[in-house]
Amino acid sequence: MSKVPRTIGRPLDPEAARARAHQISALTDPVTLRLLSLIAATPESPHSQNWLASALVLPAATVSGALLDLAAVGLLASDLRGQYQLTADAWVCFGRLLASPGPSETEQKSAVTAPTQTDAVPGVIARIVDDLSYRFSSTFSQETVARYVTESYSLLAERAQIVRFLPSLTAKFATDRLSALATVEGLVLRGTPEVLFVCVQNAGRSQMAAAILRQLAGDTVHVRTAGSAPAAAVNSIVVEALDEIGIPLATEFPKPLTEEVVQAADYVITMGCGDACPIYPGRRYMDWDLEDPVGKSLEEVRLIRDEISARVHALLAEMGPGVQPAIR
């Protein structure tokens, strides 16, 4: 017997193997496979149930069942208009399989080089690295996050046939991989949920809610804010109303609502801008019906502030001490 230990690969973790087997099982039906392949190959088409049914010459009921199966295993996600796109998982694991075998060399080449043509690529990556470094700051160094994001980006860029969703797919995929890595390495990541408050201007309601939650929860919750049409600066009466109850509104400035910021969140709380906020599966969405402090007197803003404070307390109670972020 040889003394040299034979090195074999580390087996996939049983949980991950079960999940992946489950995903693959959804694709063992040729109809489901053709459906996913068609969606992958026609990124610019409207992937509604009806369009897909007529393109594949299949009954609408068959298509609708297959769409639900694929969404249930996380291979498809639908947007607000009920149109479907592949998830990051679907691109990375199945993207190359779904393309018709033996594409001509030119086709293959253009698929690989198309995304890297855009000059915006490094900027987008840097942006995602920043976002995720913040999110994983208690767990990973920025170098680790940067490596995962860059690698996720190239995995997706080689497979996905569209450039449009590449940044958000990259952010999602890198987030999942980093979370999985943290779990495997037993690092404490869960228990630090990410809460996003969104209002129209990101100058009043969302800023108040964020400041109050930060004050209450400290490091146990990551809080972020955004606005669907951000104002130039935070409303000064809001700063005053918060100061009265001893809550600082540090160096906050209104920020636009981006897909990345929503994807990074476990809890998304909208305040009068529900339609502008993209919906992703796995996040907890809440809509708080609150008056806009714009143009209101200090007395009126105090009432809004107190109502926000009550709702933030309730939110914190709901999240509970052993709360798990819903990032998967």
Partner: protein, 93 residues
């Protein structure tokens, strides 16, 4: 180009062979092997399963052409079929 009916049926058959947690674990161990090939005994020991069980799973993968089987002396070695390597690595990502 999207898959046509025939290639979808072929691919579905391959995916049926792979849609099993144990077979995915076997593929991950073989794909990660330093020399590219692994004995049944090593796989059985690592997963804590009997050799007949492992052999059964391996046969399904060999039958679909995902794995290549080679007998040398008393040992049977398995490696990933070169043409299927990138597809298998993707499925394990």
């Amino acid at each position: 180009m999207p898959l046509d009916r025939t290639s979808a049926e072929l691919l579905a058959r391959t995916l049926r062979a792979v849609a099993d947690p144990t077979r995915l674990q076997l593929l991950s161990m073989i794909a990660g092997a330093q020399s590219g090939e692994v004995t049944v005994g090593d796989l059985a020991k690592t997963l804590g399963m009997t050799q007949p069980t492992i052999t059964h799973h391996l046969r399904i993968l060999v039958d679909d052409g995902l794995l290549v089987r080679e007998q040398r002396g008393r040992q049977v070695w398995h490696s990933i079929a070169t043409s299927r390597k990138s597809a298998i690595l993707d499925l394990l990502r």
